[in-house]
Amino acid sequence: MLDYMIYLITFAAGSILGLLYSYKQHGEPFVAVTKFNVPFAIVSIAGWVLGFCSGNVILSAIGFLLAGFVMGERPGYGRKETAVGLIIAIIVYVLLKRPLCMM
Amino acid sequence: MRIGALWNKLAKPKNIPRLFAFSLGIILIIGLIVPLALNPDQLYVRPAPQEQVDEGLAIAPYDRGGVPLKEPGNIDPQYPENAESLGMITGYMSPLAEFVSSISPYFGTSIYSSPGGLIDEILYYTRGFDTILESSILMMSFIIASWLSINYTMNRKNDEDEIKKDVKKAIDDSNRVASHVKANDAKARAKQLRRDN
């Protein structure tokens, strides 16, 4: 169970960091952002893929930290990036799992 | 009727005992159609009614055999291994009870229920914990009732007539005190006057 606790802690820490960071960046009142932020999307994809598919506690923990960082941004930011990251991670997970099952 | 109105009726405390009584009555009536029969394999079995009286035994309906203080009587508890001196009380009779049993054969109940005897065995020994609870129930409800009556329902300090009487007495008292004070005043003044002169 220890690994799950580590994942949860890193994810929460990442979210908090992301929140702090995005408040520092954007001080204005709520706006629904339509722009797609590419660097954050890359971070998100990297995070979710690492988190789901690495199979290593430390790598997964880092992955969840990154994923949490994007997902935890203040409302209106980081939604699309998270969605893209999550979808790609699931696809990668399924692709990786299939051969494993066959073996 | 709309179900909401029905639910609102259930929220009034006054209707609850009646609702409870109604549902209890329904279950009791359902009980009439359930096949009921006494299981003959019971604990603490007693002989058929009037059998012992007709035999003319001195301690009529409660004779379960056994010699006082020597041989345990014939009773049948759930866990005999938990009761070491089982049946000894069944055979025991206090001196007073011995005396009564020697003068008349018709006082079996009283003889047997004076300390010792079958029912005492059950009440104090094999099922003693029940009796603790029952006497506590009695004690608690008497505590409640007597507390209420001493402090409220019988408390004459709240009674109007009594208060009126008290007020009257208090007025009288204060009048008397006032007159005393006045008299003392007059006396003191007289003394003062005398000294001045």
Partner: protein
């Protein structure tokens, strides 16, 4: 020999009659009458206990019936005296 079952069934009869009288008898809107009618049922129960040879229970029932009646009458009197409508 006396017939135990005669008194047994009579006791049951008396208990049922007494309870019906308590519930719907004539003049039961007066609490005093209602309390009186419970006595009939309790005599019926006494007979049944006698037939079962529960003699000590019978003694206790006799004593408690008197005391319960006393308590109920006390409540009735106090409430009437107060003029409370319950």
């Amino acid at each position: 020999m006396i017939s135990v079952s005669l008194f047994f069934y009579f006791g049951i009869f008396l208990a049922i009659v007494g309870s019906i009288a308590t519930a719907w008898g004539p003049g039961v809107s007066d609490p005093v009458v209602r309390t009186f009618n419970t006595e009939i049922a309790s005599i019926g129960v006494c007979l049944v206990l006698l037939c079962y040879n529960h003699v000590l229970a019978l003694l206790t029932l006799l004593a408690t019936t008197v005391i319960i009646t006393l308590i109920l009458f006390r409540a009735i009197i106090r409430l009437e005296e107060m003029g409370a409508d319950v």
